[in-house]
Amino acid sequence: MVELLLNAVINGILLGGVLALLAFGLNLIFGVVKIIHLAYGQCVMLGMYLIYTFVDLLGIPLIPACLLTLPLTGALGVALQWLVINPLLRAKANPLTQLLALAGLIIVFENLAQVIWGADLRGVKVPLPLINFGPIFLRASNLIAFFGALLTLLSLYLFLHKTYLGLAIRSTAQNVDSARLMGINPGLIYYTTMAAGGILTGIIAAFFSPIYAVHPHFGGSFTMMAFIIVVLGGMGSMLGGFIGAFIIGIVTSVTAVLTSTEMGEIVALVIFISVILVRPQGLLGIKISR
């Protein structure tokens, strides 16, 4: 039993790495473009289908297939900015309209996937070994996903903190009019952010592909998970999202071992609601007082 729990905790941590990536993307888009990207998990789903198509139908090896997917999911982000978000911003649409538009994208993406790839589970078969350290069994795919996610987060952090473009993105998130007075073109920053967010969904898809089989409704629970993490950690707090991701990862994984997968999501939601009741701004969120 102890071994089982230990395994669950470690798998939870490994899952937390990728969840942190998902939450980071959602947080970045919310922080800069001020849009809640409800279809973010669905973008990951499309990325996984792309990888599946390249590998299984076109016979491209996995790693080049993943690399090929990144610019495509990045382009999807840019297209969303152009075709969906820009018109909403131009029309000064209220938050509810924005939310509905993005929710509509969920339906579009899921049905599109069903029409193109069908409702069956599609997976990339990669023979990856099971590694064991004494009583702990780890899947190599989870380890790759975990360390890959940490590396991606580190690169994103460096991009946001060490480059002029990253600085411009952070400035735009904090005060868009002031950013304009610094010579920053917000339109360009929005496109850059959505492209980065899109590439991120491609990276997540690459890490998920050897672990999970994809189906048209694959994205839903991950969007919800990412959303919970972002709110739990505190909207706009990157560190909060990071911590939240590991909490949710461990909780769902341990509960799944003790009871069932469905129970895992319930417990995650209960923890989420409890934290929000005590700290409405999230774990590391800044209290907005005006």
Binding site: Y164, L167, A168, R170, S171, Q174, N175, D177, S178, A179, R180, L181, M182, G183, I184, N185, P186
Partner: protein, 234 residues
């Protein structure tokens, strides 16, 4: 250097500026005085491109700039210090200054400009690692002015630099404006503290209810009985 002719600006259906004409010459410090709601801030925000005029022209160094987006106008050499500073609260002092040099042209000059700024505002050097949110009111205003200088502008638009500051701090802020003026920048300033601002200025405009009511050199404003009574309080 800056030439504004018959500017009309609206907020939706409400007209904020009526036929406003104004100019700033090379190296000149011009102040616009007037009550709250006279359209002074609107005027600055229209010059910097945050608002679009419905009619009228704004010419800067011989080029029409009205209707250009704000980020293009900064590129032409006009930097605005908005009322309250509009700092990036979660960025450090140094990062705030660095954003100020975001434009390609000023990026190349980043290191020497920063050196000049630190000489002018030594306190910012001391506080460079601090998050802007933790600065005092006076330091924030200093940082806002310093940040605008990072783009190496030719004209600086100062919107109420003394607003919300303690009287002792106000004097220091004006000291800085004086230093900046001495380095040769052209300044267009909107200010409630009319007496202090007038003493700094070369020329002045009086704006009331969205119109320019009077323009003239500093002394003509200081001697004007109406200005004295309404704005200086002597």
């Amino acid at each position: 250097m800056l030439e504004i002719k018959s500017l009309n600006v609206y907020y939706g259906e409400f007209q904020a500026l009526f036929e406003v004409s104004l100019r700033v010459l090379e190296g000149e410090t011009v102040i616009t005085v007037g009550p709250n709601g006279a359209g002074k801030s609107t005027l600055l925000k229209t010059i910097s491109g945050l608002f679009r005029p419905r009619s009228g022209t704004i010419t800067f160094l011989g080029k029409r700039i009205d209707g250009l987006p704000a980020h293009r106008i900064v590129e032409m050499g006009i930097a605005q210090v908005p009322e309250g500073g509009w700092l990036f609260p979660q960025l450090t002092v140094l990062e705030n200054l660095k954003v100020g040099s975001y434009l390609k042209g000023s990026r190349r000059e980043y290191a020497p400009t920063l050196k000049d700024i630190y000489r002018l505002f030594p306190i910012l050097d001391e506080r460079k690692k601090q998050v802007a949110d933790t600065l005092s009111g006076g330091e924030r205003q200093m940082l806002a002015i310093a940040r605008s200088l990072m783009s190496r502008p030719k004209l600086i638009l100062l919107d109420e630099p003394s607003s919300g500051l303690a009287p002792r701090v106000v004097s220091r802020v004006f000291e800085f404006v004086k230093q900046i003026k001495a380095t040769g920048y052209a300044i267009l300033m909107v200010e409630q503290n009319v007496r202090k601002a007038l003493h700094l200025s070369d020329r002045a405009y009086l704006m009331e209810s969205g119109r320019v009511h009077k323009e003239g050199v500093r002394q003509s404003f200081l001697d004007d009985p109406y200005i004295k009574k309404a704005y200086i309080g002597l």
